[in-house]
Symmetry: C2
Subunit: 350 residues, 2 copies
Amino acid sequence: MAWDELNERKRFILKSIIDDYIESAQPVGSRTIARKHELGLGSATIRNEMADLEELGYITQPHTSAGRIPSDKGYRFYVENLMQLHSLTEEEIEMIRQAMDEKIEEINHLIQKVSTIISNVTGYTAVVMSPQLSRAVIKSVQVLAIDEKRLLVVVVAGGGIVRNRLIRHDSVIDESDIAKLNKTFNILISGKTIDQVSMPALNQLPRDINVPREVIFPIFEAIEDCVRKIETTDFYMDGITNILNYPEFSDLIKARAVLDFLKEKEIIHQMVYESSKKRQLDFKIGSENEYDEMKDLSIITTVYGGEGKNYGTIGVIGPRRMTYGKVVSSIKYIRDLLNRELVRMFGDDL
Amino acid sequence: MAWDELNERKRFILKSIIDDYIESAQPVGSRTIARKHELGLGSATIRNEMADLEELGYITQPHTSAGRIPSDKGYRFYVENLMQLHSLTEEEIEMIRQAMDEKIEEINHLIQKVSTIISNVTGYTAVVMSPQLSRAVIKSVQVLAIDEKRLLVVVVAGGGIVRNRLIRHDSVIDESDIAKLNKTFNILISGKTIDQVSMPALNQLPRDINVPREVIFPIFEAIEDCVRKIETTDFYMDGITNILNYPEFSDLIKARAVLDFLKEKEIIHQMVYESSKKRQLDFKIGSENEYDEMKDLSIITTVYGGEGKNYGTIGVIGPRRMTYGKVVSSIKYIRDLLNRELVRMFGDDL
DNA sequence: ATTAGCACTCAATGGATGAGAGTGCTAACA
DNA sequence: TGTTAGCACTCTCATCCATTGAGTGCTAAT
């Protein structure tokens, strides 16, 4: 696995094989390499080198008389040592800029838009986790009387995040009591971060308040529910059917199996989450994935957001034969845009 | 197209052909009919009848030496005169009950859940439009000061529908002014239905109010925005990839074309909307669809909700060779459940 | 160390062939 | 007059087989 295991020439040949295979989806033979990449070497020499590379496990032969294709180990070496980052094309940048242009104030909509952008730009399946907001600050908690029978609880957190919940009740409640309640909530809850919030004890409420327990408790519940909703990370996928565009899935059975697996959002979510905990930029190539159904797919994920506190993940799922270089460039670019946008939205709140 | 065009026997044979074809996806021949359905007729007789049916345009032959398959006209006659409604199986009912059991307070979540149920029960693609709420009643409009620089506008409509929008500003605003503003809004706006709402003129606001125009106008805008969000019908699809389960789409090219088309949510939304305006229970079979890409698909839609005022649509997209009887039974059942649930949520508000 | 040359392997391609399913038509039958 | 058995005919589909072509490994020459 070490860089030194392969000399300069072997590395060059390996890179050529993988670049070619990524482009053509066909096993690549010695002659192709000899011709395409000016090396001053005959095909026989390359054949010998390829035999070595196969011995070392970087490439394999689908059958005796075919060319070589990269193994997972080959891809791994490629993404760590060989691949080139491409800069995005004018059109891609323009496309992203246009999509991002529309101002969005609700963070989850932004995240969803980002997932569409990723799948459009890369042509693969996008996976996006909304930021983990456990360190977001509660700005305000408000109870509103909608009519005689209903209260609305609204919780606002930094970054323009608003969650609400409606409560029905059968008591008669005075406006002034609600005002007192709100004041108390804002003293006790506002300013705390999501993970520090706790409901006040009953004896912390003003004595002179005239709201029955049958209403107080649902209000507590509603607040907790709103907080939980803010804390929960959402997970979006987009462009799942994109994998049908790649010849490795022209077998209907295979394609169906993969699509069915990708529809299990919970599992994918978990995988992406695990990846994001490991490395800022993480690859899982083919059978490096835990699940058998993923053995022909690769996942690339990268973390966006603040320094170690409120972060989320964006990434791409595609065939093992992915255009790793292009994808990495693209999601890095999009990640940076997203970061900038989040700073605009959240400012210092995050 | 008239019922009388076909005598009893022809009708029976047509029904047999279609039932068989729906089940097997194979052209059905005269012998199969003679054997399977006890008719006391030889295959030659049936062959003659089938020749008549073909002449009349109800069935066609894919090629000379194959059996017959239903034409669109055949299917149309079938859904209007021949198909039998099945009652749901125990398991299906149990499955639906379980899925519906979880209490949901937000209408769009309910609708989304329904689309999942439909696609699970039928095995086809579900399409669901949320109710058109232009007659929903505005219950309350509230402006809240979150901190010195931000206001939150909250609009509550009947049925527990809440929409909000955050506003940034740079003015110093007094609590009491906001209270006055709220009072005015609630006098002028609350109680009106969505389609009657209009923003108050500036001179309708209290004279003694001390809120600058730079803040008033964004508030108006925000309210309008919230109202628009309530009015907008959402559209959900679920189980798009289900069509891959059917042999007519085992051709990757065809499958891709159809999937790509179904991803154009706007177009499908429009189609469903048109259907729902026509008939309480509407079928579009094969080339009855406006779009070429849909010529191998059928759509069944049915309207749910109140009497002509706030209604939405649920439906199914599947191969032309759909289990029409089962699907109609299923979506009718689900529609009734949904109606009941909406009454529970909205009560008289809707 | 490199390479030209050659024998060998294997997948893919494109007929040719035969089986099977189904039809239409005709003549016989009730 | 309606029904049916029988038969020749058509068309698809699966199978077999020979051919082609890409690519390899090995050997001997450079």
